[in-house]
Symmetry: C2
Subunit: 384 residues, 2 copies
């Protein structure tokens, strides 16, 4: 492949590992004797350690948000368009931390890791983790890095839920929370799509109740289906029409031809490639964390009360054609924040790309992020 | 179970079989040496045979639209709320014909039928059928019943596509076409959901390339997944919120409990029950017919030109929260009909029940159908 384009890029980055040697008691009752978090950092921490931004990843994300792991990498990290020198999350100003969450499959302790008690991979015995546990483990990572207070905790989708949980659970440790294309809890429809994805995985005969890796197998078809379902729900109907229409990939409508629409082969490709790089138990664990997230639950379904503990500023961004985490869901968050008398900025971005918009370089979206974070920078680092 | 409620019902009905002894050449190039269509009729054909209504079924429907097969039946036919004495499709006035389509699995010739050439079930070798083939076979059934011209051809979803194809292919054989919750062609998103359902079925190891029945197997898990996917897309987000919210079916959010949301067990139940009563090859065949339907294709994507052959009146009905066949899609049909200078009535019905609305007893929807068909009755049978 062509050499990595390091122009306006953070360049080549090396993942680091934070090892936490003490036990972690999880909110659903489980316990990890110790754990690792793999993470990357971009930019430099300033002297008074006030310019740090934490990026929380979504369902299938990981720590590699920006830059390249090697000069010859074909592709940069998953949010490279947004994170780098002069980009909305500007590494010339901010020190950016991006990690793989607990339970992940990209280097942090998760189902594919060895359980020290048994010497075998955790597999399906990996304990349930929730968004609250992620926030707690991320705070431990911040301790390790000497960051007492983040200038911003930023995330899209499931990442936005983590940013919201940070505001609630660690009110003194962040100056602002940026919640992008997220919701205060999933709708029944969302839970339904997640459950179908889990069902697709667990009914794959190679899943073996989650013990596939010990048997040298991988529930590829189930993971492929799960990803295909997810993928369709991340795109908008209009966006898919523009991208694929009813164009044929092969065959024709003449007698005897096998018709295949482009959208079909696209989904096959996406699903197949995902099934090679993602762990099935992790997928189940991450979707469960999504389903369970509901900070208002402990406050009689009153989100404003749940958010009353927060002590930071908020920026809430949603996208016009996102039907998995619709603008309505963001409006609920904004309304609750207003009702809880918090400082909140919000924007609805016109985009044809559905939920996926949060990963794309959309000028107005990036302008909103840039100007919001510029202000945050002045507030935490300005020489006023 | 309690005795069947025959009040305002067509009562107990007995399915009949029409055997077509001559070959049928199919539009995609296949051929059936002969075929059977199973059908039911409700009401009486009048003397000049002008009061017949044809009901075309949707993806998973069948011939049993109204009444009971037995006094002890727990449930009536799938559209019993709409078809019967004094109901919108009033069997006191109309003679109603309802059939199971070619390729179906409820008695008409389909993949589960014996191939006369081999003495074995067709299975995956059943030829591709299209909406055009359905219309042709339905016209042959009409010949058999001595019906030269239907007062109305009525259908929802895939059934509406058949009604549209009737208007194009058999312009002199229907007085009106009632298109409910349908589209002139599927969007890429719709094709994507269908493809995921097919993929779920074909990747079930019990599918055996479609030869499951000969091996005494059934791809139940695949069919279950396919139905779960379909089901979520037939409901609206709001409707699901009202029906399920985030209510728990079992477990709790306390540590150590396994959480199951009501929507999950509901979908499992729906999927499992469907997998017991529906044939996998038929599901694939029916979704393919949906995908291929596109009458404008042969007219340079000009739907108005495709519809210019029609010679009947139209009634087009859609539902506000239907996102699988949205009101936009119905509007495209209405616009094309107007542009082709056809007589068209249309209504958008407010409903929270998504695509499923077309099967439900919604007062304004039923009022629209009733008053439209009253007028049709006067036109074809009135003593003016």
């Amino acid at each position: 492949m062509a050499q990595a384009q390091t122009n306006r890029s953070v360049g080549v980055v090396t993942p680091q590992v934070y090892h936490h040697g003490a036990p972690l008691h999880l909110s659903a009752g489980g316990r990890l004797a110790s754990f690792d978090l793999v993470f990357e950092t971009y930019g430099s921490l300033n002297e008074n350690r006030s310019n740090a931004i934490l990026i929380c990843h979504a369902l299938s994300g990981n720590h590699h948000a920006a830059g390249y792991h090697d000069q010859d990498d074909a592709k940069p990290g998953w949010w490279d368009s947004c994170v780098g020198p002069g980009k909305p999350i500007d590494t010339d100003r901010f020190f950016v931390v991006s990690l793989n969450n607990l339970g992940g499959c990209h280097g942090s302790t998760g189902p594919t890791s060895e359980n020290p008690d048994t010497g075998k991979p955790y597999g399906p015995t990996f304990p349930t983790v929730t968004v609250q546990d992620w926030v707690r483990s991320q705070a431990l990572l911040a301790d390790h890095l000497g960051i007492n207070r983040f200038a911003a905790v930023v995330g899209g989708s499931l990442g936005g839920m983590q940013a919201m949980q940070w505001a609630i659970d660690q009110p003194d440790r962040l100056h602002s929370a940026v919640l992008i294309a997220c919701a205060a809890r999933l709708t029944a429809q969302n839970i339904a799509f997640n459950e179908i994805a889990r069902q697709a995985i667990s009914s794959d005969p190679s899943f073996h109740g989650g013990d596939y890796s010990q048997l040298g197998e991988n529930p590829e078809l189930g993971l492929m289906l799960a990803r295909m379902i997810g993928h369709v729900t991340y795109l908008s109907d209009d966006g898919m029409r523009q991208k694929f229409g009813r164009e044929l990939q092969s065959g024709g409508f003449e007698p005897g031809h096998d018709v295949q629409f482009q959208v079909e082969s696209y989904l096959h490709h996406q699903g197949r490639s995902f099934s090679q790089r993602f762990d099935a138990n992790t997928y189940i664990l991450m979707t469960r964390a999504l389903d369970y997230f509901d900070p208002a639950r402990e406050h009689e379904d009153d989100l404003a009360r749940a958010l009353s503990a927060a002590n930071c500023k908020f920026c809430v961004v949603s996208f016009s054609t996102d039907w998995r985490f619709s603008t309505e869901r963001s409006k609920e968050i904004v309304d609750a924040l207003v009702s809880a008398r918090k400082n909140v900025a919000s924007a609805i971005i016109e985009s044809q790309h559905g939920h996926d918009s949060f990963l794309l370089e959309i000028p107005r979206y990036f302008d909103v992020l840039r100007s919001y974070l510029d202000r945050i920078f002045e507030e935490v680092c300005g020489e006023a």
